[in-house]
Protein backbone atom coordinates (compact mmCIF):
# COMPACT_ATOMS: atom_id res chain seq x y z
CA UNK A 1 0.00 0.00 0.00
CA UNK A 2 2.73 2.48 0.92
CA UNK A 3 4.74 1.85 -2.20
CA UNK A 4 1.57 2.20 -4.28
CA UNK A 5 0.74 5.49 -2.58
CA UNK A 6 4.25 6.74 -3.15
CA UNK A 7 4.15 5.70 -6.80
CA UNK A 8 0.83 7.48 -7.38
CA UNK A 9 2.00 10.63 -5.62
CA UNK A 10 5.17 10.65 -7.69
CA UNK A 11 3.22 10.20 -10.91
CA UNK A 12 0.93 13.11 -10.07
CA UNK A 13 3.85 15.53 -9.85
CA UNK A 14 4.81 15.42 -13.56
CA UNK A 15 1.19 16.13 -14.50
CA UNK A 16 1.14 19.28 -12.43
CA UNK A 17 4.57 20.31 -13.66
CA UNK A 18 3.62 19.80 -17.31
CA UNK A 19 0.45 21.85 -16.93
CA UNK A 20 2.24 24.71 -15.19
CA UNK A 21 5.06 24.69 -17.74
CA UNK A 22 2.81 24.54 -20.80
CA UNK A 23 0.55 27.29 -19.49
CA UNK A 24 3.51 29.44 -18.55
CA UNK A 25 5.19 29.06 -21.93
CA UNK A 26 1.93 29.69 -23.79
CA UNK A 27 1.49 32.87 -21.85
CA UNK A 28 4.96 34.06 -22.71
CA UNK A 29 4.72 33.07 -26.35
CA UNK A 30 1.99 35.65 -26.90
CA UNK A 31 3.06 38.88 -28.53
CA UNK A 32 2.85 42.02 -26.45
CA UNK A 33 4.07 42.59 -22.94
CA UNK A 34 1.98 43.54 -19.94
CA UNK A 35 3.20 47.13 -19.97
CA UNK A 36 2.67 48.14 -23.59
CA UNK A 37 -0.50 50.00 -22.76
CA UNK A 38 -2.06 53.05 -24.34
CA UNK A 39 -0.31 55.28 -21.86
CA UNK A 40 3.38 55.72 -22.66
CA UNK A 41 5.67 55.45 -19.67
CA UNK A 42 9.24 56.70 -19.62
CA UNK A 43 12.04 54.25 -20.28
CA UNK A 44 13.30 54.44 -16.71
CA UNK A 45 9.89 53.66 -15.25
CA UNK A 46 9.44 50.81 -17.69
CA UNK A 47 12.82 49.38 -16.72
CA UNK A 48 11.90 49.61 -13.07
CA UNK A 49 8.57 47.93 -13.65
CA UNK A 50 10.21 45.16 -15.65
CA UNK A 51 12.82 44.67 -12.96
CA UNK A 52 10.12 44.49 -10.32
CA UNK A 53 8.32 41.69 -12.14
CA UNK A 54 11.62 40.07 -13.25
CA UNK A 55 10.75 40.64 -16.90
CA UNK A 56 14.34 41.70 -17.60
CA UNK A 57 15.66 38.22 -16.85
CA UNK A 58 15.93 35.44 -19.44
CA UNK A 59 12.82 33.28 -19.80
CA UNK A 60 14.18 30.22 -18.02
CA UNK A 61 15.06 32.31 -14.95
CA UNK A 62 11.62 33.89 -14.95
CA UNK A 63 10.13 30.42 -15.19
CA UNK A 64 12.17 29.09 -12.28
CA UNK A 65 11.27 32.14 -10.21
CA UNK A 66 7.59 31.59 -10.99
CA UNK A 67 7.85 27.91 -10.05
CA UNK A 68 9.57 28.86 -6.82
CA UNK A 69 6.88 31.36 -5.89
CA UNK A 70 4.11 28.90 -6.82
CA UNK A 71 5.74 26.31 -4.58
CA UNK A 72 5.72 28.88 -1.81
CA UNK A 73 2.04 29.42 -2.45
CA UNK A 74 2.36 32.82 -4.10
CA UNK A 75 0.53 33.10 -7.43
CA UNK A 76 1.86 36.54 -8.31
CA UNK A 77 0.17 39.87 -8.95
CA UNK A 78 -2.88 40.57 -11.04
CA UNK A 79 -2.30 42.53 -14.26
CA UNK A 80 -5.61 44.36 -14.18
CA UNK A 81 -6.44 44.86 -10.53
CA UNK A 82 -3.34 46.82 -9.60
CA UNK A 83 -3.66 46.64 -5.84
CA UNK A 84 -4.58 42.98 -5.70
CA UNK A 85 -2.41 39.91 -5.76
CA UNK A 86 -3.87 36.76 -7.27
CA UNK A 87 -3.78 35.27 -3.78
CA UNK A 88 -6.03 38.03 -2.41
CA UNK A 89 -8.53 37.53 -5.22
CA UNK A 90 -8.50 33.77 -4.68
CA UNK A 91 -8.90 34.17 -0.94
CA UNK A 92 -12.04 36.23 -1.40
CA UNK A 93 -13.51 33.98 -4.11
CA UNK A 94 -12.61 30.51 -2.87
CA UNK A 95 -15.10 30.31 0.03
CA UNK A 96 -18.00 31.08 -2.31
CA UNK A 97 -17.02 28.36 -4.78
CA UNK A 98 -16.15 25.91 -2.02
CA UNK A 99 -19.49 26.24 -0.27
CA UNK A 100 -21.50 25.99 -3.50
CA UNK A 101 -19.42 23.16 -4.94
CA UNK A 102 -18.92 21.25 -1.70
CA UNK A 103 -22.53 21.65 -0.62
CA UNK A 104 -23.87 20.41 -3.91
CA UNK A 105 -21.39 17.51 -4.06
CA UNK A 106 -22.40 16.23 -0.60
CA UNK A 107 -26.08 16.78 -1.33
CA UNK A 108 -25.93 15.09 -4.71
CA UNK A 109 -23.99 12.10 -3.35
CA UNK A 110 -26.63 11.54 -0.67
CA UNK A 111 -29.59 12.07 -3.00
CA UNK A 112 -28.01 10.30 -5.96
CA UNK A 113 -27.04 7.18 -4.00
CA UNK A 114 -30.45 7.01 -2.31
CA UNK A 115 -32.34 7.44 -5.57
CA UNK A 116 -30.04 4.93 -7.27
CA UNK A 117 -30.73 2.33 -4.55
CA UNK A 118 -34.49 2.75 -4.82
CA UNK A 119 -34.38 2.69 -8.61
CA UNK A 120 -32.33 -0.52 -8.59
CA UNK A 121 -34.57 -2.22 -6.05
CA UNK A 122 -37.79 -1.30 -7.83
CA UNK A 123 -36.99 -1.37 -11.51
CA UNK A 124 -39.64 0.26 -13.72
CA UNK A 125 -41.21 2.01 -10.73
CA UNK A 126 -41.79 5.76 -10.43
CA UNK A 127 -38.42 6.31 -8.73
CA UNK A 128 -36.71 4.35 -11.48
CA UNK A 129 -38.33 6.48 -14.17
CA UNK A 130 -37.39 9.61 -12.22
CA UNK A 131 -33.74 8.54 -12.12
CA UNK A 132 -33.71 7.76 -15.83
CA UNK A 133 -35.47 11.02 -16.63
CA UNK A 134 -32.97 12.96 -14.52
CA UNK A 135 -30.16 11.09 -16.23
CA UNK A 136 -31.49 12.17 -19.61
CA UNK A 137 -31.98 15.75 -18.47
CA UNK A 138 -28.48 15.89 -17.07
CA UNK A 139 -26.93 14.63 -20.28
CA UNK A 140 -28.92 16.71 -22.76
CA UNK A 141 -29.98 19.90 -20.99
CA UNK A 142 -26.75 21.74 -20.26
CA UNK A 143 -26.27 23.69 -17.05
CA UNK A 144 -26.38 27.03 -18.87
CA UNK A 145 -29.88 26.19 -20.10
CA UNK A 146 -31.15 24.64 -16.88
CA UNK A 147 -29.87 27.58 -14.78
CA UNK A 148 -31.81 30.30 -16.61
CA UNK A 149 -34.88 28.04 -16.69
CA UNK A 150 -34.66 27.66 -12.89
CA UNK A 151 -34.42 31.44 -12.60
CA UNK A 152 -37.45 31.95 -14.84
CA UNK A 153 -39.51 29.53 -12.75
CA UNK A 154 -38.41 30.18 -9.16
CA UNK A 155 -37.16 33.75 -9.22
CA UNK A 156 -39.23 35.50 -11.88
CA UNK A 157 -42.37 33.37 -11.99
CA UNK A 158 -42.90 32.27 -8.39
CA UNK A 159 -40.64 34.94 -6.84
CA UNK A 160 -39.54 32.56 -4.08
CA UNK A 161 -35.81 33.11 -4.39
CA UNK A 162 -33.42 35.79 -5.65
CA UNK A 163 -32.41 35.48 -9.30
CA UNK A 164 -28.73 35.84 -8.49
CA UNK A 165 -26.14 37.67 -6.51
CA UNK A 166 -24.47 36.92 -3.24
CA UNK A 167 -25.25 38.44 0.10
CA UNK A 168 -22.55 37.44 2.55
CA UNK A 169 -23.39 33.74 2.74
CA UNK A 170 -27.11 34.33 3.14
CA UNK A 171 -28.82 31.00 2.53
CA UNK A 172 -31.50 32.32 0.16
CA UNK A 173 -28.86 33.22 -2.42
CA UNK A 174 -27.23 29.80 -2.29
CA UNK A 175 -30.32 27.69 -2.89
CA UNK A 176 -30.70 27.95 -6.67
CA UNK A 177 -26.99 27.52 -7.53
CA UNK A 178 -26.74 24.48 -5.26
CA UNK A 179 -29.95 23.05 -6.69
CA UNK A 180 -28.65 23.48 -10.23
CA UNK A 181 -25.34 21.74 -9.54
CA UNK A 182 -27.09 19.04 -7.54
CA UNK A 183 -29.57 18.20 -10.30
CA UNK A 184 -26.73 17.84 -12.77
CA UNK A 185 -24.60 15.67 -10.47
CA UNK A 186 -27.50 13.56 -9.25
CA UNK A 187 -28.28 12.61 -12.84
CA UNK A 188 -24.87 10.95 -13.22
CA UNK A 189 -24.57 9.54 -9.71
CA UNK A 190 -28.09 8.09 -9.72
CA UNK A 191 -27.58 6.36 -13.05
CA UNK A 192 -24.21 4.86 -12.07
CA UNK A 193 -25.49 3.77 -8.65
CA UNK A 194 -28.55 2.14 -10.19
CA UNK A 195 -26.48 0.22 -12.74
CA UNK A 196 -23.85 -0.98 -10.32
CA UNK A 197 -26.34 -2.04 -7.65
CA UNK A 198 -28.36 -4.03 -10.18
CA UNK A 199 -25.18 -5.77 -11.23
CA UNK A 200 -24.14 -6.52 -7.65
CA UNK A 201 -27.60 -7.82 -6.77
CA UNK A 202 -27.20 -10.45 -9.45
CA UNK A 203 -23.97 -11.82 -8.00
CA UNK A 204 -23.57 -15.10 -6.16
CA UNK A 205 -22.88 -13.81 -2.67
CA UNK A 206 -26.15 -11.89 -2.71
CA UNK A 207 -27.99 -15.05 -3.67
CA UNK A 208 -26.28 -16.78 -0.73
CA UNK A 209 -27.30 -13.98 1.62
CA UNK A 210 -30.89 -14.21 0.43
CA UNK A 211 -30.81 -18.00 0.69
CA UNK A 212 -29.75 -17.68 4.32
CA UNK A 213 -33.08 -15.94 4.84
CA UNK A 214 -31.78 -12.44 5.53
CA UNK A 215 -34.35 -9.68 5.11
CA UNK A 216 -33.93 -7.45 2.04
CA UNK A 217 -32.77 -4.34 3.88
CA UNK A 218 -29.91 -6.27 5.52
CA UNK A 219 -28.95 -7.86 2.22
CA UNK A 220 -28.85 -4.46 0.52
CA UNK A 221 -27.33 -2.36 3.27
CA UNK A 222 -24.79 -4.82 4.66
CA UNK A 223 -23.81 -6.88 1.64
CA UNK A 224 -24.63 -5.12 -1.60
CA UNK A 225 -24.07 -1.47 -0.76
CA UNK A 226 -20.32 -1.44 -0.29
CA UNK A 227 -19.31 -3.12 -3.56
CA UNK A 228 -21.98 -1.15 -5.40
CA UNK A 229 -20.57 2.13 -4.12
CA UNK A 230 -17.16 1.54 -5.71
CA UNK A 231 -18.07 2.90 -9.16
CA UNK A 232 -19.59 5.95 -7.46
CA UNK A 233 -16.30 6.56 -5.63
CA UNK A 234 -14.38 6.37 -8.89
CA UNK A 235 -16.88 8.86 -10.32
CA UNK A 236 -15.92 11.57 -7.84
CA UNK A 237 -12.76 12.49 -9.75
CA UNK A 238 -14.42 13.14 -13.14
CA UNK A 239 -17.36 14.67 -11.31
CA UNK A 240 -15.08 17.18 -9.62
CA UNK A 241 -13.61 18.15 -12.99
CA UNK A 242 -17.01 18.52 -14.61
CA UNK A 243 -18.26 20.50 -11.63
CA UNK A 244 -15.50 23.03 -12.35
CA UNK A 245 -17.13 23.47 -15.75
CA UNK A 246 -20.54 23.78 -14.13
CA UNK A 247 -19.11 26.14 -11.54
CA UNK A 248 -17.94 28.48 -14.29
CA UNK A 249 -21.43 28.42 -15.78
CA UNK A 250 -23.30 28.53 -12.48
CA UNK A 251 -21.34 31.47 -11.18
CA UNK A 252 -21.89 33.32 -14.45
CA UNK A 253 -25.60 32.55 -14.54
CA UNK A 254 -26.22 33.53 -10.91
CA UNK A 255 -23.49 36.20 -10.79
CA UNK A 256 -21.71 34.72 -7.79
CA UNK A 257 -18.33 36.18 -6.81
CA UNK A 258 -16.56 32.81 -6.93
CA UNK A 259 -13.51 31.36 -8.65
CA UNK A 260 -15.43 30.61 -11.84
CA UNK A 261 -16.59 34.19 -12.20
CA UNK A 262 -13.06 35.36 -11.45
CA UNK A 263 -11.57 33.23 -14.19
CA UNK A 264 -14.22 34.16 -16.76
CA UNK A 265 -13.76 37.85 -16.02
CA UNK A 266 -10.00 37.42 -16.05
CA UNK A 267 -10.17 35.75 -19.45
CA UNK A 268 -12.45 38.51 -20.72
CA UNK A 269 -10.03 41.21 -19.47
CA UNK A 270 -7.03 39.24 -20.73
CA UNK A 271 -5.65 39.28 -17.19
CA UNK A 272 -2.91 36.77 -17.97
CA UNK A 273 -1.42 36.28 -14.53
CA UNK A 274 -4.81 35.91 -12.90
CA UNK A 275 -5.95 33.26 -15.40
CA UNK A 276 -2.60 31.45 -15.20
CA UNK A 277 -2.66 31.51 -11.41
CA UNK A 278 -6.21 30.18 -11.27
CA UNK A 279 -5.50 27.46 -13.84
CA UNK A 280 -2.44 26.38 -11.88
CA UNK A 281 -4.34 26.41 -8.59
CA UNK A 282 -7.34 24.49 -9.86
CA UNK A 283 -5.22 21.97 -11.76
CA UNK A 284 -3.20 21.23 -8.66
CA UNK A 285 -6.40 20.85 -6.65
CA UNK A 286 -8.02 18.50 -9.18
CA UNK A 287 -4.91 16.38 -9.65
CA UNK A 288 -4.65 16.09 -5.88
CA UNK A 289 -8.33 15.18 -5.62
CA UNK A 290 -7.97 12.55 -8.34
CA UNK A 291 -5.01 11.16 -6.44
CA UNK A 292 -7.02 10.95 -3.22
CA UNK A 293 -9.91 9.26 -5.01
CA UNK A 294 -7.55 6.71 -6.59
CA UNK A 295 -6.01 5.95 -3.20
CA UNK A 296 -9.43 5.65 -1.57
CA UNK A 297 -10.47 3.32 -4.37
CA UNK A 298 -7.43 1.12 -3.94
CA UNK A 299 -8.11 1.03 -0.22
CA UNK A 300 -11.79 0.17 -0.61
CA UNK A 301 -11.54 -2.37 -3.40
CA UNK A 302 -9.92 -5.61 -2.20
CA UNK A 303 -9.59 -6.76 -5.81
CA UNK A 304 -7.00 -4.09 -6.60
CA UNK A 305 -3.45 -5.20 -5.95
CA UNK A 306 -0.51 -2.92 -5.94
Amino acid sequence: MWSYTLRRVLSAIPTMLVVITVCYLLLHATPGGPFDSERKVSAAVLANLQAKYHLDLPLWQQYLLYLKSVLQGDLGASFRYADWSVNDLVASALPVSAIIGGGSLVLSLVIGVTLGIFAALRQNSMVDYLVMLLGNVGSAVPSFVLGPVLIIIFAIGLQWLPAGGWNNFELRFMVLPIVLLTVINVSTIGRVMRGSLIEVLHSNFIRTARAKGLPTHIVVLRHALKPALLPVVSLIGPLAISSITSALVTETVFSLPGLGKLIVNGAGNRDYTLVLGLVVLITVLTVALNLLVDLAYAWLDPKIRY
Partner: protein
Protein backbone atom coordinates in the same frame (compact mmCIF):
# COMPACT_ATOMS: atom_id res chain seq x y z
CA UNK B 1 -22.49 -33.15 -50.58
CA UNK B 2 -22.53 -29.35 -50.84
CA UNK B 3 -19.86 -27.66 -52.88
CA UNK B 4 -17.61 -25.08 -51.29
CA UNK B 5 -19.25 -22.11 -53.01
CA UNK B 6 -22.70 -23.35 -51.98
CA UNK B 7 -21.62 -23.49 -48.37
CA UNK B 8 -20.29 -19.99 -48.66
CA UNK B 9 -23.62 -18.83 -50.09
CA UNK B 10 -25.44 -20.42 -47.15
CA UNK B 11 -23.09 -19.02 -44.53
CA UNK B 12 -22.83 -15.50 -45.95
CA UNK B 13 -26.28 -13.97 -46.03
CA UNK B 14 -25.96 -11.52 -43.12
CA UNK B 15 -22.95 -9.33 -42.61
CA UNK B 16 -22.11 -7.54 -39.39
CA UNK B 17 -23.34 -4.27 -40.84
CA UNK B 18 -26.64 -5.42 -42.31
CA UNK B 19 -27.33 -7.09 -38.98
CA UNK B 20 -26.55 -3.84 -37.20
CA UNK B 21 -28.70 -1.84 -39.61
CA UNK B 22 -31.62 -4.16 -38.97
CA UNK B 23 -31.27 -3.78 -35.19
CA UNK B 24 -30.91 0.00 -35.50
CA UNK B 25 -34.02 0.30 -37.67
CA UNK B 26 -36.02 -1.51 -35.03
CA UNK B 27 -35.04 1.11 -32.42
CA UNK B 28 -37.82 3.71 -32.69
CA UNK B 29 -36.19 6.38 -30.51
CA UNK B 30 -32.95 6.24 -32.45
CA UNK B 31 -34.71 6.31 -35.80
CA UNK B 32 -36.90 9.27 -34.86
CA UNK B 33 -33.82 11.07 -33.50
CA UNK B 34 -31.96 10.45 -36.73
CA UNK B 35 -34.80 11.92 -38.82
CA UNK B 36 -35.19 14.89 -36.46
CA UNK B 37 -31.46 15.57 -36.54
CA UNK B 38 -31.38 15.35 -40.32
CA UNK B 39 -34.26 17.83 -40.43
CA UNK B 40 -32.49 20.25 -38.05
CA UNK B 41 -29.26 20.02 -40.04
CA UNK B 42 -31.10 20.55 -43.32
CA UNK B 43 -33.00 23.51 -41.88
CA UNK B 44 -29.75 25.06 -40.67
CA UNK B 45 -28.17 24.68 -44.10
CA UNK B 46 -30.99 25.86 -46.37
CA UNK B 47 -33.30 27.67 -43.94
CA UNK B 48 -31.47 31.04 -43.85
CA UNK B 49 -31.73 31.30 -47.67
CA UNK B 50 -35.47 30.63 -47.71
CA UNK B 51 -36.47 33.00 -44.92
CA UNK B 52 -37.06 36.68 -45.71
CA UNK B 53 -34.73 38.12 -43.04
CA UNK B 54 -30.95 38.24 -42.83
CA UNK B 55 -29.28 37.02 -39.62
CA UNK B 56 -27.40 40.28 -39.00
CA UNK B 57 -29.83 42.95 -40.18
CA UNK B 58 -32.08 44.73 -37.72
CA UNK B 59 -35.81 45.18 -38.16
CA UNK B 60 -36.37 48.58 -36.54
CA UNK B 61 -40.14 48.11 -36.35
CA UNK B 62 -39.82 44.94 -34.33
CA UNK B 63 -37.27 45.02 -31.50
CA UNK B 64 -37.62 42.21 -28.95
CA UNK B 65 -40.86 41.30 -30.74
CA UNK B 66 -42.76 38.23 -29.69
CA UNK B 67 -43.14 35.38 -32.19
CA UNK B 68 -45.79 36.25 -34.78
CA UNK B 69 -46.86 35.16 -38.26
CA UNK B 70 -47.67 38.67 -39.50
CA UNK B 71 -44.18 40.06 -40.07
CA UNK B 72 -42.60 36.65 -40.73
CA UNK B 73 -40.66 36.70 -37.44
CA UNK B 74 -41.84 33.18 -36.62
CA UNK B 75 -39.65 32.93 -33.50
CA UNK B 76 -39.71 36.65 -32.69
CA UNK B 77 -36.71 38.98 -32.72
CA UNK B 78 -33.88 39.70 -30.30
CA UNK B 79 -33.22 43.01 -28.56
CA UNK B 80 -31.51 44.41 -31.67
CA UNK B 81 -34.48 43.52 -33.87
CA UNK B 82 -32.75 40.60 -35.61
CA UNK B 83 -34.90 37.64 -36.61
CA UNK B 84 -34.44 34.90 -34.03
CA UNK B 85 -35.29 31.92 -36.24
CA UNK B 86 -32.68 32.90 -38.83
CA UNK B 87 -30.14 33.57 -36.08
CA UNK B 88 -30.84 30.16 -34.53
CA UNK B 89 -30.37 28.45 -37.89
CA UNK B 90 -27.18 30.35 -38.69
CA UNK B 91 -25.96 29.65 -35.15
CA UNK B 92 -26.80 26.00 -35.78
CA UNK B 93 -24.58 26.06 -38.86
CA UNK B 94 -21.69 27.27 -36.73
CA UNK B 95 -22.33 24.93 -33.81
CA UNK B 96 -22.79 21.89 -36.01
CA UNK B 97 -19.74 22.77 -38.13
CA UNK B 98 -17.60 23.17 -35.02
CA UNK B 99 -19.03 19.89 -33.77
CA UNK B 100 -18.25 18.04 -36.98
CA UNK B 101 -14.78 19.49 -37.52
CA UNK B 102 -13.62 19.06 -33.94
CA UNK B 103 -15.09 15.56 -33.80
CA UNK B 104 -13.39 14.59 -37.05
CA UNK B 105 -10.05 15.89 -35.82
CA UNK B 106 -10.28 14.40 -32.33
CA UNK B 107 -11.58 11.05 -33.59
CA UNK B 108 -8.71 10.76 -36.08
CA UNK B 109 -6.18 11.69 -33.44
CA UNK B 110 -7.74 9.25 -30.97
CA UNK B 111 -7.77 6.36 -33.44
CA UNK B 112 -4.17 6.86 -34.52
CA UNK B 113 -3.00 7.31 -30.92
CA UNK B 114 -4.93 4.34 -29.56
CA UNK B 115 -4.17 1.97 -32.43
CA UNK B 116 -0.47 2.82 -32.31
CA UNK B 117 -0.33 2.27 -28.56
CA UNK B 118 -2.28 -0.97 -28.85
CA UNK B 119 -0.26 -2.43 -31.73
CA UNK B 120 3.19 -1.49 -30.49
CA UNK B 121 2.54 -2.28 -26.83
CA UNK B 122 5.24 -2.37 -24.18
CA UNK B 123 6.99 0.79 -23.04
CA UNK B 124 5.61 2.97 -25.85
CA UNK B 125 2.10 1.87 -24.94
CA UNK B 126 2.47 2.67 -21.26
CA UNK B 127 4.06 6.05 -22.02
CA UNK B 128 1.31 6.99 -24.49
CA UNK B 129 -1.39 5.92 -22.08
CA UNK B 130 0.29 7.82 -19.25
CA UNK B 131 -0.09 10.95 -21.37
CA UNK B 132 -3.78 10.17 -21.84
CA UNK B 133 -4.19 9.72 -18.08
CA UNK B 134 -2.48 13.05 -17.60
CA UNK B 135 -4.87 14.79 -19.99
CA UNK B 136 -7.80 13.33 -18.07
CA UNK B 137 -6.66 14.83 -14.79
CA UNK B 138 -6.50 18.33 -16.28
CA UNK B 139 -9.56 20.54 -15.93
CA UNK B 140 -9.81 20.98 -19.69
CA UNK B 141 -12.24 23.88 -19.80
CA UNK B 142 -9.81 26.04 -17.85
CA UNK B 143 -6.98 25.29 -20.28
CA UNK B 144 -9.40 25.94 -23.13
CA UNK B 145 -10.18 29.31 -21.56
CA UNK B 146 -6.49 30.02 -21.16
CA UNK B 147 -5.83 29.08 -24.80
CA UNK B 148 -8.71 31.23 -26.04
CA UNK B 149 -7.53 34.12 -23.85
CA UNK B 150 -4.06 33.92 -25.30
CA UNK B 151 -4.66 32.92 -28.90
CA UNK B 152 -7.82 34.88 -29.58
CA UNK B 153 -11.29 33.76 -30.54
CA UNK B 154 -10.96 32.78 -34.16
CA UNK B 155 -13.25 30.02 -35.39
CA UNK B 156 -10.47 27.55 -36.14
CA UNK B 157 -8.79 28.22 -32.79
CA UNK B 158 -12.01 27.28 -31.01
CA UNK B 159 -12.09 24.06 -33.03
CA UNK B 160 -8.44 23.37 -32.27
CA UNK B 161 -8.84 24.04 -28.56
CA UNK B 162 -11.82 21.71 -28.31
CA UNK B 163 -10.03 19.01 -30.31
CA UNK B 164 -7.01 18.98 -28.02
CA UNK B 165 -9.18 18.03 -25.06
CA UNK B 166 -11.64 15.57 -26.57
CA UNK B 167 -9.59 12.79 -28.17
CA UNK B 168 -8.69 10.78 -25.06
CA UNK B 169 -11.84 8.68 -24.79
CA UNK B 170 -11.43 7.48 -28.34
CA UNK B 171 -7.73 6.73 -27.83
CA UNK B 172 -8.48 4.64 -24.76
CA UNK B 173 -11.29 2.69 -26.35
CA UNK B 174 -9.42 2.02 -29.59
CA UNK B 175 -6.33 0.89 -27.70
CA UNK B 176 -8.32 -1.49 -25.53
CA UNK B 177 -10.14 -2.85 -28.53
CA UNK B 178 -6.94 -3.29 -30.53
CA UNK B 179 -5.28 -5.11 -27.64
CA UNK B 180 -8.17 -7.50 -27.13
CA UNK B 181 -8.74 -8.05 -30.85
CA UNK B 182 -5.13 -9.06 -31.38
CA UNK B 183 -5.57 -12.03 -29.07
CA UNK B 184 -9.10 -13.02 -30.12
CA UNK B 185 -9.77 -16.68 -30.90
CA UNK B 186 -11.24 -15.98 -34.31
CA UNK B 187 -8.14 -14.01 -35.24
CA UNK B 188 -6.08 -16.97 -34.10
CA UNK B 189 -8.34 -19.34 -36.01
CA UNK B 190 -8.01 -17.23 -39.15
CA UNK B 191 -4.27 -17.24 -38.74
CA UNK B 192 -4.28 -21.01 -38.26
CA UNK B 193 -6.27 -21.38 -41.49
CA UNK B 194 -3.52 -19.50 -43.27
CA UNK B 195 -5.33 -16.20 -43.83
CA UNK B 196 -2.85 -13.44 -44.60
CA UNK B 197 -2.18 -10.66 -42.09
CA UNK B 198 -3.62 -7.94 -44.34
CA UNK B 199 -6.79 -9.94 -44.79
CA UNK B 200 -7.03 -10.51 -41.03
CA UNK B 201 -6.66 -6.79 -40.42
CA UNK B 202 -9.28 -5.78 -42.97
CA UNK B 203 -11.63 -8.71 -42.45
CA UNK B 204 -11.52 -9.05 -38.66
CA UNK B 205 -9.77 -6.15 -36.92
CA UNK B 206 -11.05 -3.13 -38.85
CA UNK B 207 -14.77 -4.00 -38.85
CA UNK B 208 -14.66 -4.70 -35.13
CA UNK B 209 -12.76 -1.49 -34.52
CA UNK B 210 -15.23 0.45 -36.67
CA UNK B 211 -18.07 -0.49 -34.34
CA UNK B 212 -16.61 1.24 -31.29
CA UNK B 213 -15.32 4.09 -33.44
CA UNK B 214 -18.82 4.80 -34.74
CA UNK B 215 -20.33 4.56 -31.24
CA UNK B 216 -17.77 6.84 -29.64
CA UNK B 217 -17.98 9.31 -32.51
CA UNK B 218 -21.68 9.82 -31.81
CA UNK B 219 -20.81 10.27 -28.16
CA UNK B 220 -18.07 12.78 -29.01
CA UNK B 221 -20.22 15.04 -31.20
CA UNK B 222 -22.65 16.23 -28.48
CA UNK B 223 -19.76 16.66 -26.04
CA UNK B 224 -17.92 18.84 -28.52
CA UNK B 225 -21.01 20.90 -29.38
CA UNK B 226 -21.60 21.35 -25.66
CA UNK B 227 -18.03 22.54 -25.04
CA UNK B 228 -18.33 25.08 -27.87
CA UNK B 229 -21.61 26.29 -26.43
CA UNK B 230 -20.16 26.64 -22.94
CA UNK B 231 -17.21 28.64 -24.29
CA UNK B 232 -19.52 30.85 -26.33
CA UNK B 233 -21.93 31.18 -23.42
CA UNK B 234 -19.10 32.44 -21.24
CA UNK B 235 -18.30 34.98 -23.96
CA UNK B 236 -15.06 33.21 -24.89
CA UNK B 237 -16.05 31.41 -28.07
CA UNK B 238 -17.61 32.53 -31.33
CA UNK B 239 -17.84 36.32 -31.57
CA UNK B 240 -20.48 38.77 -32.80
CA UNK B 241 -21.87 39.36 -35.35
CA UNK B 242 -21.29 35.67 -36.08
CA UNK B 243 -23.30 33.54 -33.76
CA UNK B 244 -23.70 30.04 -32.36
CA UNK B 245 -26.21 28.37 -30.08
CA UNK B 246 -24.06 29.17 -27.07
CA UNK B 247 -23.94 32.86 -28.00
CA UNK B 248 -27.70 32.94 -28.58
CA UNK B 249 -28.38 31.30 -25.23
CA UNK B 250 -26.12 33.83 -23.54
CA UNK B 251 -28.00 36.68 -25.23
CA UNK B 252 -31.27 35.10 -24.24
CA UNK B 253 -30.22 34.60 -20.63
CA UNK B 254 -29.46 38.31 -20.35
CA UNK B 255 -32.96 39.25 -21.48
CA UNK B 256 -34.98 36.35 -20.09
CA UNK B 257 -36.96 38.36 -17.56
CA UNK B 258 -38.90 40.28 -20.21
CA UNK B 259 -38.46 38.26 -23.37
CA UNK B 260 -38.04 34.61 -22.39
CA UNK B 261 -38.44 33.28 -25.95
CA UNK B 262 -35.03 34.69 -26.91
CA UNK B 263 -33.61 32.18 -24.42
CA UNK B 264 -36.05 29.33 -24.86
CA UNK B 265 -35.86 28.83 -28.65
CA UNK B 266 -32.09 28.38 -28.97
CA UNK B 267 -31.97 26.49 -25.66
CA UNK B 268 -34.67 24.13 -26.87
CA UNK B 269 -32.96 23.66 -30.22
CA UNK B 270 -29.63 22.82 -28.56
CA UNK B 271 -31.26 20.42 -26.09
CA UNK B 272 -33.22 18.63 -28.82
CA UNK B 273 -30.05 18.23 -30.86
CA UNK B 274 -28.14 16.82 -27.88
CA UNK B 275 -31.02 14.46 -27.08
CA UNK B 276 -30.98 13.23 -30.66
CA UNK B 277 -27.27 12.51 -30.56
CA UNK B 278 -27.67 10.66 -27.25
CA UNK B 279 -30.49 8.47 -28.57
CA UNK B 280 -28.61 7.76 -31.80
CA UNK B 281 -25.53 6.85 -29.77
CA UNK B 282 -27.57 4.48 -27.60
CA UNK B 283 -29.20 2.96 -30.67
CA UNK B 284 -25.85 2.43 -32.37
CA UNK B 285 -24.41 0.86 -29.24
CA UNK B 286 -27.26 -1.60 -29.03
CA UNK B 287 -27.08 -2.28 -32.75
CA UNK B 288 -23.33 -2.74 -33.08
CA UNK B 289 -22.53 -4.30 -29.74
CA UNK B 290 -25.40 -6.50 -28.58
CA UNK B 291 -23.24 -7.97 -25.82
CA UNK B 292 -23.08 -4.64 -24.04
CA UNK B 293 -26.77 -4.55 -23.15
Amino acid sequence: MLKANEIEALVQGRSLWSDARRRFMRNKAALVSLCLLAFIALACVVGPWLLPHAFDSADWDAMSAAPSWKNAHFWGTDDAGRDLLVRCLVGGRVSLTVGLLATLASVSLGIVWGATAGFIGGKVDSLMMRIVDMMYAIPYLLIAILLVTILGREFYLVVLTITVFSWMDMARVVRGQTLSLRSMEYVEAARAMGVSTTRIIFRHIVPNLLGVVVIYTTVTVPGVILTESVLSFLGLGIQEPMTSWGVLIQDGAKAMEVTPWILLFPAGLLSVTLYCFNFIGDGLRDALDPKER
